[in-house]
Amino acid sequence: MAVTTSTSALEQLSTWLSHTAVSAHLQKCEWTIPAIQTVHILSIAAAISSAFLLDLRFLGLFAPGRPTYVIARRLQPWGTVALVSLAVSGGLLIVAEPSRSLTNVVFAVKLLILTAALLGNWVLKRGLRVDLHFWDREPARKLSKIIAIISLLLWSGVVLAGRLIAYVGA
């Protein structure tokens, strides 16, 4: 029953949002939505590229000559800026077309994968904060490689699910 209630709550929220002035404003010009989507894609480019490069560093496939923490520090600001930009552009897209995402099962799956991906990144960075060479020693080294592979798959999943939102009718 809880599921039914939460679904209808999302439907209500979706209907309410679609009647707000902001939503009407965003839908007024036909180029507003693709423009926001472009910002969203550029932000995802920054987000997944910084996540991918860090994962590839852990796997020894990117900048093997440089310490992992140096790469992590360099990529960190881009990941953070990208996530803020993703949240803002994504939020605007939800307000513009609430029924496209809020009641869409693929959107829910995307948020779930995103949470798992962020958790993976957090674990990798947490280790570096404890000790700059935390992941360099066994068995942590092996574990970091497994987390990196899972992270690569999860971030890919976020992008794939994001595009698939358009194909699953609300």
Binding site: E30, W31, P34, A35, Q37, T38, I41, L42, I44, A45, A46, I48, S49, S50, F52, L53, L56, F62, A63, R74, S156, V159, L160, G162, R163, L164, A166, Y167
Partner: protein, 165 residues
Amino acid sequence: MGVQALFAELQQTPLATTIRENTVLFPGIESLHVLAVAFLVGSVAVVDLRLLGTRSLTRSIEELMAITLPWTWVAFATAVVTGCLLFTSNAVEYSQNVAFRAKLLVLALAGLNAAVFHSATCRGLKAWEYSLHTPPSVRVAGAVSLLCWVAIVALGRAIGFTSAL
């Protein structure tokens, strides 16, 4: 036979028909295309920002290119293969789409810019590769590349919102 007739024939091939009519194939390939383009743009930006002299200044341009460009090529190859498959499925319509044509044009410009940079500008690399203030020609190459890729993403997104000429 004109180009349009060729495209018409192309989209009648079994491969094109399968992609067009299968409910999973087109969205799947398109998602992969977006993923490849996203990593492509991100990895290109890493080098472009270094050329502009704003990022990764502790690393020489040559070294940064050597570690980043292999991944750029992986992403580019994936984007080209998936992009061609998507084009095949609806060749006539895409070839007449304004945004699609503009995207290919900007893509060619980005390619030309990269080719000029790697063949001509790069020659004097040793002289300034560690310098914090890269020469104007290098900064222009980085800026043109960044602008091109932003435009390519915008035009790519616009294809679905645009109709034929």
